[in-house]
Symmetry: D2
Subunit: 160 residues, 4 copies
Amino acid sequence: MKKTAESAIADEAELLAIIRASFFERMPFNRILGIELLSLHHDRPELRFDMRAELVGNYVRNILHGGVISSVLDVTGGLVAFLGVQKKLQGKPVAEVVERFSRIGTIDLRIDYLRPGTGAWFLARGFPLRTGNKVAVTRMELFNDQEALIAVGTAAYTVS
Amino acid sequence: MKKTAESAIADEAELLAIIRASFFERMPFNRILGIELLSLHHDRPELRFDMRAELVGNYVRNILHGGVISSVLDVTGGLVAFLGVQKKLQGKPVAEVVERFSRIGTIDLRIDYLRPGTGAWFLARGFPLRTGNKVAVTRMELFNDQEALIAVGTAAYTVS
Amino acid sequence: MKKTAESAIADEAELLAIIRASFFERMPFNRILGIELLSLHHDRPELRFDMRAELVGNYVRNILHGGVISSVLDVTGGLVAFLGVQKKLQGKPVAEVVERFSRIGTIDLRIDYLRPGTGAWFLARGFPLRTGNKVAVTRMELFNDQEALIAVGTAAYTVS
Amino acid sequence: MKKTAESAIADEAELLAIIRASFFERMPFNRILGIELLSLHHDRPELRFDMRAELVGNYVRNILHGGVISSVLDVTGGLVAFLGVQKKLQGKPVAEVVERFSRIGTIDLRIDYLRPGTGAWFLARGFPLRTGNKVAVTRMELFNDQEALIAVGTAAYTVS
C-alpha cells in the first residue's frame, strides 16, 4: 500500500530526528567534527560545521586539517548513500531504514584539495552518481562561508 | 661539502625532535588523532595512535571512524613527501628543511577501506612512489595491533 | 597590448585547427580511440567518439572496454588543463601555447564506472576544478547517445 | 569432494587456456593493447605487452599514451579480482568459473603516473588487497623493460 504524501512528509521529519539523534549525535568523531545536518534532500543533502581550534591543521595559517575535510566529505557521501537506500525502502518502517544505515560502509574515497580551508564555517553537499542494490557512488563538495569551493570528493559505498 | 655519517645521524635526531615538537605536537587536529611519530626512515616512516573513545565512528561495533583513517593516512603520506624533500636538501640547515615542511600540501588522496578498524592501537606506514621537484606521490598502509591491513591509500603532494 | 575580440576569436579558430591537426590527429592512440574535438570552451570542452568494434571490452554485451573510457576521460581532463593554461597565456603566440600543451602530464586519475558503456556514440565533457600555476585539477563526464551518464572522472595534471 | 593436486594443476592449465582463448583473445580492445597473460598466480598475476606505434601518446618523445596504461592496469586488476573468485570456487566446474569472470565489473580505478612510459615492452603485476563476496580491491604496478616503475593503480571490482 502506498503512503499518502502527508505521512511521507511525516516520515521524513521522523527520519531526520532519528538520524540526527541516533546517528550523528552518538557518533563520537562526528561530534568532534561538529557536524550538523542541514538537509536530507535525496538529490543533494547538506551538512555544515564551524571552524574550531581543534580542527586546525596549519596553525600558522589557521586552515582546516586535510583530515577534517576528508572526514566530513566521507560522512557526506555516506549520507547520500543512505538516502538512496532510504528512497528505495520508501514506505518501510523507520526502524528498518535506520538498521540499513548501520550497514553502509565506505569502499573507497578520493578527495581533491582545491583551496586552503579557511573560513568561519563550512558547508558540505553530496550528490548521488549511482545508487545500485549493492554499491552506491557519490560526489561531494565542500564550500567555505565565502562560497569558495575548498575540496571535492568521490566515493563508493556498499549498501547491502 | 658532504657531511660525515655522524653529523648526518645527529641531524636526523635533531630533525626528529623539531618535527615532533613543532609539527605534530602543535598541530591541533593531530593531537586529537593522538598521532605519535615512530620512525622517520625515508623509505618507510611510521606513525602510531591508540584507539580512544573520541575516534569511534560506529559506537555499536566500536570501530574507527573512516575519517580518522583518512586523516592519519594523509598525515603519513605528507610525512613521506617531507622526508623525500629533506633527503634532497641533505646538508642544508634544519631551519630551511623545516620551512619546506610547511609548504607541503596534499593535492589529492585515495583511501581504500579494507577491514573494520578494530584494535587497541594502530600503525601507519608510508612509502615513496615518486619524489619529484614539484610533486611527490606516496603509498600508505594502516595496520591494527593484530597486523591486519585495515586500509591503504595513495596520495599526491605539492612539494615546492 | 590587449587583443581585440575579433583577433581573439581568430586565435581561437587558429588554435582549434592547430590542436586538432597537430595534437589529436598525430597522436596514434587518439586515432584508435577515434576522438574528435567538439568544443574548446574553457569551462566545458567536449570530445566525442563513435562505438567501433575495436573498442569493445565485452563482446557478448557489446559494451565499451573500461580502458577506452579511462583513456577518453584522461584526454578530456588533459584538454581542460591545457585550456586553463591557454587562458592564462591569452595574447601569447600560438606556438608558445602549443608548446605548453606538450608539457602537460597526468599526475593521477580516478574513474568511476557508473553504467555499461552501450551506445552508438559517446560524448565526454570536462570541467576545471582548479587551474594553478603548477597543478590543474579537472572533473570529467562521459555520456552515451541517450544522455545516460556512463562514467565520471577526476584528475590532476602538471601544467608547468 | 576435494580434488587431488594433480587434477587441480590440470584445472589451472585448462583455466589458463580458456581464459586466454575466450577472454583475452576475443576481447577486441585487449588485442589492440596486445596484452599477453604471463602468470595466473593468485597472489600476483602478470601480463605483458609490447610497445607498438598504435599505443603512443606523445609521438615526439615516443611514450605510451596514458590511456594504454590505465587500460592495462584495469585489466590487471580485473584479473586479480577474477582469480580471487576462482580461488573461492576451487573444485567447481571450469564453466561456472568462467561464467563468473563475465560478471566482474570495475567500480572505480585510480592510476598514478610515476614515470614516462618508455620501453620496448612492459610488465603489469596485480595484487589482491581484499577479496570479499561482493567487492574485491586490488593494487597494480606497471614496469618497463628496465624494471622502472612507470605507474601504479588501485581499483575496486564487483564480483557477484
